[in-house]
């Protein structure tokens, strides 16, 4: 079993999906010869040709809008949006067309489209390259939204997303692209379903809910907390829409405390939805209100202050301390 980066795991997952189904095609800016700015599609155009790995003109609405047409013709397009902050020109096509065509057609026109978006900050980038727009897609009926946090999930989840007959917004934690893990590609099936959350660290004192880049941060917080004698249970949500609430509720009933961590601003972020549901379903188990650790309600700042701006281990621990103090 080889150590593999998250980016490379995505490459291999895309390759496996393209080998399994010739209707799978990739579209995006610079994804051909260059292999994408993060090299996620490295070598795929060479192996599958320009008809299946399409370097598109520089227009995001065009990428998603033509993907709709290709899907109507029976293809399964996988669109790469180069950076989170560049998805907005495609927002109308995603919200008004991709998300609604199945519904509008009474189920006659499925939209098996995957839209890959590298998201989140922490790489010292200029503006528009560090955003976390996932909540805006979670809010849209008709879309499914997932976020991978590690190479093994990346490999399997991208294949599962492509095999889904519904549109999937696939959030990739860009600052974790270079994280490595052992990946066994010889398994016949994915270890778990696409829309399932997972306990990645067991604990008893408080539940920490995270996804994408914040899973690693939360795991580090759990280790640090353990040194202080606090036992944190960390759940990697993996699926943001639909949510997989059972593991979350089960954990919170056990710990009585929950902290949600994400890079997106807290107002109307996923943490707000999780807090509402936890409150509704675990009211009598809660020892403290659900707390949120996320971005402030400001635009993403210049990168020289992003380390202070982004939720980190200390801010997670601070929230844990506050929930334990109730």
């Amino acid at each position: 079993m080889a150590q593999i980066t998250l980016a490379k795991a995505l490459t291999n997952g895309l390759r496996a999906a393209m080998e399994a189904d010739e209707k799978v095609i990739l579209m995006g800016e610079d994804i051909g010869k260059l292999g994408g700015v993060f090299r996620v599609t490295d070598g795929l155009q060479k192996d599958f040709g320009e008809d299946r790995v399409i370097d598109t003109p520089l227009a995001e609405s065009g990428i998603v809008g033509t993907a709709v047409g290709l899907a109507l013709r029976g293809y399964r397009p996988v669109c790469e949006i180069q950076f989170d902050g560049f998805v907005y020109p495609a927002y109308d096509q995603i919200v008004s067309q991709v998300a609604k065509l199945r519904f509008r057609s009474g189920g006659k026109l499925p939209m098996p489209i995957v839209i890959r978006i590298p998201f989140g900050g922490g790489i010292g980038a200029v503006e528009h390259h560090s955003e976390s727009p996932e909540g805006q897609f979670v809010h849209q009926a008709g879309l499914k939204v997932v976020a991978c946090s590690n190479p093994v999930d990346a490999y399997w989840m991208i294949q599962q997303a492509i095999a889904t007959d519904d549109p999937v917004i696939f959030m990739e934690p860009k600052r974790r692209y270079w994280e490595k893990a052992d990946l066994d590609e010889s398994q016949a099936e994915a270890p778990r379903g696409l829309h399932s959350s997972r306990v990645v660290h067991e604990g008893t004192d408080a539940t920490v809910l995270a996804y994408g880049p914040m899973v690693k941060t939360s795991l580090e917080a759990a280790i640090a907390a353990a040194e202080e004698g606090k036992s944190l249970e960390v759940i990697d949500l993996r699926t943001l829409s639909p949510l997989d609430m059972e593991p979350v509720l089960e954990s919170v009933r056990k710990t009585g405390r929950a902290v949600v961590v994400h890079e997106a601003p807290v107002t109307l972020g996923l943490g707000a939805e999780l807090a509402a549901r936890i409150t509704e379903h675990c009211f009598y188990s809660l020892e403290a209100p659900v707390l949120r650790v996320g971005a402030f309600d400001t635009p993403y700042p210049p990168s020289r202050v992003e380390e202070e701006y982004l939720p980190d281990l200390d801010r997670v621990l601070d929230a844990v301390d506050r929930t334990l103090a109730y």
Binding site: G65, T66, L70
Partner: protein
């Protein structure tokens, strides 16, 4: 700033941009019903086909009039009339092969007719019982698209799919396929439409962009969208643009047929500007008396798309009174079909809205549906226990 600083004066290059149809207008049947020849495009059909066009035009206008009446009677929430644009739609619609795929706006009732979509199905969207009641794959006729211009990208993507399926340029007329995207003059300002031109051009996609320039985007005249004639824009994108008399069914047929053939053969996209006029309001909610002159309307009445075909058929003795009477009878029949069918369209069941959001119901939606069903049924049991009526 003088013109010398920035090259020639636009007016001298393109001529007065929107005054009249311009010298390059393709016309094969004059408003008086006289046939005309054009050096590049010719009508290759028979008089029998022209009788068929006449029938299509009359039926389309009648469907439109009946739907407008249904809206006035409160049976439709809104209707987007195509009055005046019948020739553009029938001419282009009849130029398609069965395998070609159509991406319409919300006003393509005449094209729908040519694709054998039951006009009753069109009413569902406007009555509020569905959001597209036909199967796009059955008639190769996509759902109506209300977001202006969005469908042009879908058309281009579909055309790219055709290329990948190997059904372009095989020289087999039953196999080779192309796409036609409909939109209006207002849509040409949309980013999506311009992006679709770029995509179609660089990928040489088999798509025909059919713009019905009806001079008005609700209240905004064409001058608010473009300083140059729309068809001249195509050149900048790298494919031919043609302006055709949109009220001339023969010209619309001939030009569209040539453009579709060109696309099927693998020679890429064409932009067709069908120069026409929106004789009615934008929709039944609109009031054009607030923004346009009635004399414009009177001028365009002289160019009516149906009158000129009727004049041609009568003058040449190509159709007799019996033919016209038969078409009239058939139009009455379709009107009855629409009226009776519209009133009988079943309302959707509110609990069904949960079923087609995803291919598999998410736990959240399943929960919401079940809870809502319980909530609704609580009223039933309440009224049952109090002996009330529903």
């Amino acid at each position: 700033m003088t013109n010398a600083d920035f090259g020639p004066d636009l007016g001298s290059v393109f001529g007065p941009s929107h005054e009249g149809e311009g010298p390059e207008l393709v016309q094969l049947l004059t408003p008086e019903g006289e046939r005309r020849e054009h050096p590049e495009f010719s009508y290759d059909g028979t008089d029998d086909d022209i009788r068929g066009f006449y029938r299509d035009l009359v039926m389309t206008r009648r469907i439109d009039a009946e739907a407008t009446a249904l809206q006035r009677q409160g049976e439709l929430g809104i209707w987007a009339s195509l009055l005046g644009q019948e020739a553009a739609q029938v001419g282009s619609g009849r130029a398609l092969s069965p395998q070609d795929f159509v991406f319409p706006t919300y006003r393509e009732h005449g094209v729908a007719w040519c694709r054998d979509v039951d006009p009753l199905r069109l009413l569902g969207l406007f009555r509020g019982v569905d959001q597209g009641g036909w199967d796009p794959r059955e008639n190769q006729f996509g759902l109506y698209t209300i977001v202006i211009g969005a469908q042009t990208l879908h058309a281009t993507g579909y055309a790219m799919g055709l290329q990948r399926d190997g059904v372009v340029g095989t020289q087999d007329n039953d196999r080779d396929t192309a796409v036609i995207a409909y939109f209006g003059d207002g849509a040409t300002s949309q980013g999506d439409v311009n992006e679709s031109f770029i995509w179609a051009s660089v990928f040489n996609a088999p798509v025909v962009f059919f713009c019905q320039n009806n001079q008005w985007a609700i209240s905004e005249p064409i001058e608010k969208q473009s300083r140059i004639p729309l068809y001249q824009r195509a050149l900048g994108f790298g494919f031919p643009g043609i302006r055709v008399d949109g009220n001339d069914v023969l010209a619309c047929y001939a030009v569209t047929k040539a453009a579709m053939q060109r696309a099927r053969e693998g020679s890429g996209p064409t932009f067709i500007e069908a120069y026409t006029y929106r004789m009615g309001a934008h929709t039944t909610s609109d009031d054009p008396t607030r923004y346009r002159l009635s004399e414009d309307l009177e001028n365009w009445k002289l160019k009516d798309p149906i009158a000129r075909v009727e004049a041609y058929l009568k003058r040449g003795g190509v159709a007799d009174d019996g033919f016209f009477a038969d078409v009239q009878t058939e139009a009455d029949k379709i009107a009855t079909h629409l009226r009776e069918g519209c009133l009988a369209l079943p309302d959707p069941k509110v609990l069904e809205i949960f079923d087609q959001v995803y291919s598999d119901p998410s736990p959240e939606l399943a929960e919401q549906k079940a809870a809502f069903a319980d909530y609704l049924s609580s009223f039933e049991s309440e009224s049952a226990s109090t002996g009330g009526t529903v």
